[in-house]
């Protein structure tokens, strides 16, 4: 299955300039247009190139360990009141779905003859994944990370450095993910000839949203077939967490054409959308332009970007991929907020029922599923089948979770 992870399938596509309805496009300095065009060309060529697809497929299989399992979580299901199937992206090399994207883009970087990759990272997961691919492909790697994040994710900084990457703490603006992305963009403008900006989610200027979606699309392609094999039918719903939104698009894409399959994206509701302290760009934001694309953005009345808040560093971003904005506009997918507390309750439930520690990002998908299950059961008049994208593992979150639950021994 992974050998043809890029085989064409029917599904929503942007126009040739990367517009998903009224969203997407390119809002970038002219200096970057040539590089984006080059990338667009390389990506389109690669997508139809058998040798690229074979190489990518082999890497996904032999290096990343995909297809990931679709696991029926029976004890969790019993608590939730739905037949819950977990797409185990947490078992991939580096611990999340993100490895699919970085392998695809690193392969393209080589094809374009570039020798250096740069990346932005919040919690450090995408930075670690990028550093991993850079080591594998012998590319120079520079990762921009907000200073606030380098301090609270010191272990991931060390991981990146072990893998040979240079980590640059970003000290301007709010010193978090969005500022790391600004700084990476500035680096790219200055070094675009030899550098590829390996964006970590399905956001940014065209072709990134569609390209990243294509590289992670295997999640849904695999899950759809695995669900058919396991249950003899399609699920009633597919759920995922949404920050930038790559894991959600990755699993949604294969199901968009299956009208009976409901799609749910769960955004980070932080302390609750009404409090203003959240990262729910679709539920609590408005249409705007950020980081090269038109999408839903958390912004004030003057269009200044607002700081987002979430217990999950990976969802703590004030924008969202433009394809999600479009799926929301068209009504094909539903987007709902999940608070920190709801996510952590689901986090604990999965730990205790299945012996699986999820990433706090993925715990948002689990929490949304917990809330969705009874409604769907009532509507269908039977137990629903729900595929949940367990996009990453929780090793990186042990400190945050331990702190949250108050289970860390006090320092002596």
């Amino acid at each position: 299955m992974s050998a043809d992870a890029l085989a064409p399938v029917a599904g929503p596509q942007p126009d040739s300039a990367g517009h998903f309805g009224r969203f997407g496009g390119r809002f970038v300095p002219e200096a970057l247009v040539a590089a984006l065009d080059e990338l667009d060309g390389a990506w389109r060529t690669a997508m139809t190139d058998e040798s690229f697809r074979a190489e990518f497929g082999a890497l996904l299989r032999d290096y990343a360990g995909t297809p990931s399992l679709l696991y029926e979580a029976r004890r969790f299901s019993a608590k939730v009141g739905a037949r819950v199937l977990l797409k185990r992206e947490d078992l991939n090399h580096t611990g999340a779905h993100k490895v699919r994207n970085v392998l695809g883009q690193a392969l393209l970087t080589k094809r374009m003859g570039k020798t250096r990759v740069i990346a932005e990272t919040g919690a450090g997961q995408h930075g670690v994944a990028t550093a991993t691919a850079a080591a594998l492909f012998d590319l120079e790697c520079v990762v921009y990370m907000g200073q606030v994040d380098t301090e609270r994710q010191a272990l991931n900084v060390a991981r990146m450095r072990m893998l040979g990457a240079t980590v640059i703490p970003v000290t301007n603006g709010s010193r978090t993910l969005k500022d790391a992305m600004n700084e990476a963009m500035r680096d790219w403008v200055a070094n675009v000839d030899e550098t590829h900006y390996l964006i970590g989610t399905a956001a940014g200027p065209h072709p990134f949203p569609a390209m990243v979606r294509d590289f992670v699309r295997g999640i849904g392609d695999e899950a759809r077939q695995q669900c058919l094999d396991l249950t003899g039918g399609l699920p009633d719903a597919v759920t995922a967490c949404v920050g930038g939104g790559s894991n959600a698009l990755g699993i949604f894409h294969a199901f968009v054409g299956d009208e009976a399959v409901r799609l749910y994206g769960f955004e980070a509701g932080g302390d609750g959308v009404a409090t203003g302290r959240h990262a729910a760009s679709i539920t609590g934001g408005s249409a705007g332009v950020l980081h090269g694309t038109r999408t839903f953005v958390l912004q004030d009345a003057d269009g200044q970007t607002l700081e987002s808040h979430s217990i999950s560093a990976g969802l703590d971003y004030p924008g969202v991929g433009p394809e999600h904005a479009w799926l929301h506009d068209t009504g094909r997918a539903n987007y709902l907020p999940v608070t920190d507390d709801e996510a952590m309750a689901a986090f604990e439930l999965l730990c205790r029922t299945e012996g699986i520690i999820p990433a706090i990002e993925s715990a948002h998908a689990l929490a949304g599923t917990v809330a969705l299950a009874p409604k769907l059961a009532a509507e269908l008049g039977r137990e629903p089948t729900i595929v949940v994208n367990l996009s990453g593992r929780g090793d990186k979150d042990v400190h945050t979770a331990g702190d949250y639950f108050g289970i860390l021994d006090k320092e002596r």
């Binding site: 300039a17 496009g25 390119r26 809002f27 970038v28 300095p29 002219e30 200096a31 970057l32 247009v33 040539a34 590089a35 301007n172 603006g173 969005k178 500022d179 600004n182 963009m185 500035r186 403008v189 200055a190 070094n191 675009v192 000839d193 705007g288 332009v289 950020l290 980081h291 090269g292 953005v297 912004q299 009345a301 003057d302 269009g303 200044q304 970007t305």
Partner: protein, 267 residues
């Protein structure tokens, strides 16, 4: 012809380049920025570029980022920028506005154009809006008689260069280097080539920005371009000054040096 076009023509007739000086609106305060821009005009800056501070300025280097952050932390609003433009336009110098796209979109593109025109602004420089995405701005700028300055870059292909200048009105902004704003030790080698490539496809005046910070550099750029655009070096005068009066004095000194530079083009 636009007021900027007239100013470029006059400078050209005088055998010199036009000096464009940039300052973020509301930096260090609303009144402080009006005082700074007025001082620049008095010391010989021909055109004032008012930058609307934005939370995520990807084309700007550390100096303008810091100034923008200070302005935003001080609570400056887009409506204040309109007031600043009006005050600076009253000095008689043409005022062009540089803005990232989201503040305009949030304000409402047509309403923004209307308010900008009635404040006496000549038009917009749009660092993250390319003509490909600019339909709404093309219509609004036509409706309200505003200039449109899109950027061209050393990496622009010939086709994009031709397309971009075709959508410009007033003047074209050539980015001298591949990079962000900020004074640099050396002027760019890529800029003269870019300017001559642009000249092959447009009669509009061409301003060169990014990395110009001294009178000598201004003279070098004036040797091949119609306009010399200076930002970070001027902003730094205010940023580094211990008092507002010191900042204005430093600003006057540098403005005069730059004005001298554009009158002594190095050819």
């Amino acid at each position: 012809m636009s007021r900027i076009g007239v100013a470029f023509d006059k400078a050209r007739a005088d055998g010199r380049a036009l000096l464009v000086g940039c300052m973020p609106a509301g930096f260090p305060t609303v009144e402080g920025s009006i005082a700074a821009m007025t001082a620049m005009v008095e010391a010989g800056v021909d055109v004032i570029e008012v930058e609307i501070p934005y939370s995520d300025p990807v084309m700007d280097g550390p100096v303008i980022q810091r100034a923008s952050d200070i302005a935003l932390a001080g609570g400056v609003r887009t409506a204040d920028t309109m007031r600043i433009i009006e005050a600076v336009a009253a000095t008689g110098a043409p005022v062009v506005t540089m803005t990232y796209w989201n503040p305009v979109e949030r304000y409402g593109v047509d309403v923004f154009a209307r308010d900008l025109a009635s404040a006496g602004g000549t038009g917009l420089i749009t660092p993250d809006l390319i003509p490909d995405e600019a339909d709404e701005w093309l219509a609004a700028s036509d409706a309200h008689g505003l200039d449109r300055t899109f950027l061209v870059s050393p990496s622009s292909t010939d086709a994009r260069l031709a397309m971009t200048v075709q959508h410009c009105r007033g003047f074209v902004y050539a980015t001298a280097v591949m990079g962000v704003t900020g004074a640099r030790a050396r002027t760019s080698d890529a800029a003269p080539t870019l300017v001559s490539r642009a000249r092959a496809v447009t009669d509009l005046p061409i301003g060169v920005g990014l990395g110009v910070g001294t009178g000598a550099q201004a003279g070098t750029v004036a040797g091949y371009a119609d306009g010399v655009i200076v930002g970070s070096a001027l902003v730094r005068c205010v940023l580094d000054a211990p008092t507002e009066a010191d900042g204005l004095a430093a600003l006057r000194t540098l403005s005069a040096e730059l004005a001298e530079g554009v009158r002594n083009p190095t050819r």
